[in-house]
Amino acid sequence: MTRYLLRRLGSLLVLLVVMTAVVYGIFYAIPADPAVLVCGKGCDGGQLASIHHKLGLDQPITTQYWHFLEGLVAGRDYSSGPDVSHCAAPCLGYSFQTDLPVLSLIAQRLPVSLSLTAGALVLWTVTGVALGLVSALRERRLTDRLITVFVLGGLGTPVFVSGLLLLMVFCGWLRWLDFPVYVPLTEDPAGWARNLVLPWLTLTILQSAIFTRLTHTGMLETLSEDHIRTVRAYGLPERRVIGRHALRGALTPLISINAVEFGAVLVNAMLTETLFGLPGIGQLIVQSSNNVDLPVVAGLTLTAGLAVVLANTAADLLYAAVDRRVVLT
């Protein structure tokens, strides 16, 4: 167990260093100059040079990267003219575009992305498990076939298509909802939920299809196992056979699926945010990439990579806790 955690930690460190190095490498290899974008129109050579110096772009890329790592571990000082500002560890630096600390930029947008994904996670887990269960118990009947069609449709529909179709139906034709505008949960809980309904549904259609399929196959597999035959032979009512015995076996693998799917969810959340104009992390990634805002992109890559690895580790641990047969090495 300890060995497992240590090894995970080691590979995590290597991974994060490699990832951020790749980001710096990519930015170094490209011809676009962030300073030109910062400087705007009618910018002369002197101004450009001073911006280069201020952003540290006049240093070699290896030095820039080293400072980035240094800031991460120990914090670093930024001097802009006479005053020096200290950025405490873990310091992700300052945005080239807005001069705001990257960490606070991310923190600012995190609630939006969390609202979107957490709400949708609950929805898609419940929907997926329910549909999978029904389709497994009604195998080959009409309900099962309808659910199969939903699964195929859901898996094949990119979020930006299903989202647009939902918008067309609920905002355009039925006019039940307005175009979503993000309202913080703390300000107006009802408005928060009302505005997030369509984004939640958008993510749910895709992700619940995955869950339905997994619950379906898991359920059928468990139902054909020996211990189910045994409890049935004992004369347990079918409700309890399904509810207490079969469902547990079928649902255990789902724990790790949310972790494995984490990367895909991130990407789909990003597309959903862009479609609905939600000011979350996804929008920040697209904007900062287009603006060649190196510190923000590097910071976001680091954070996302960290989240993916942590999610996977947490899933492994949970899995081992639920299923005693699993041994972590």
Partner: protein, 319 residues
Amino acid sequence: MSEVLAEVRDPGAAVSGSPARARQVLRRLRSDRPAMAGLIVTGVLVLAAVLAPLLTALEGQDTTTFHTQLLDSARGGVPRGALGGAGADHWLGVEPTTGRDLFARALYGARISFAVAFGTLVVQLLLGVAVGLAAGFGGRWADATLGRLIDLAISFPQLMFAIALLAIVPQSFPRPVLLMLVIGLFNWGGTARLTRGQVLSLKSRDYVAAARLSGASPGRIALREILPGALPQVLTYAAILLPGNMVSEAGLSFLGVGVHPPASSWGQMLSTATTWFRADPMYVLVPGLSLLTAVLAFTLLADGLRAALDPKASLRGRR
């Protein structure tokens, strides 16, 4: 001994490539109605994309000409008439604010979509098979290192990197080629994992041992004995990557880092259609349903192929 030699000469036959097996797979595929529907729709769409210049000439339109006389300037440039201005001249209507022909733009979008999906597949297969083969065949250290790399490639949110990369590569670089490279470069993990598994199971077969005993070099064993045996499974799996690649291309174009105007792509059309879903639903439906139809048809076909090869592994969970 002669049996062993026969196997050595045709390693594929020992695994899954025998004519009887192929006939069985074809028969299963033919009796699979959803898969056959997928095959037909896929065929029609690919043919339409290839013949795009001919079909648009038949319609008498092109992708770039503005038809502003067809737009209602009082309503912000929405096409006049029902169904977004669809009719005999413009089969699927015209784009709002520009009046460009939607049929032509969607058709040329299909070309981009299919070309990028297939090109990406080539990149994925080359990378995935090479890494998988090396991991499965290269011994303990190679397997451990490459195995980690494969895990990473599978779990990482690649699209994030792809956006950053696409946003900063100069516009002069041909966009479709760049899309193939970027999507392929970030999505080869599944192919590699599958190839590795196949290689590991083939490595212990008798015919491979026979080849080794007869003095074949490791490189020869890997490329001539093991690879042909692993390929049928890998290629079947690869078919399921195609619709995924189409979605990736559409997604990147939707985010504004894919294909740039005046070239058209379904994703890019959808991204401009976002603000028109109320005033001009046709503008959403044309690229949206095109993408949906294509993705669904490719998925059904690929799933049917997989089910024919291994009935237990189907998406539709038949048994």
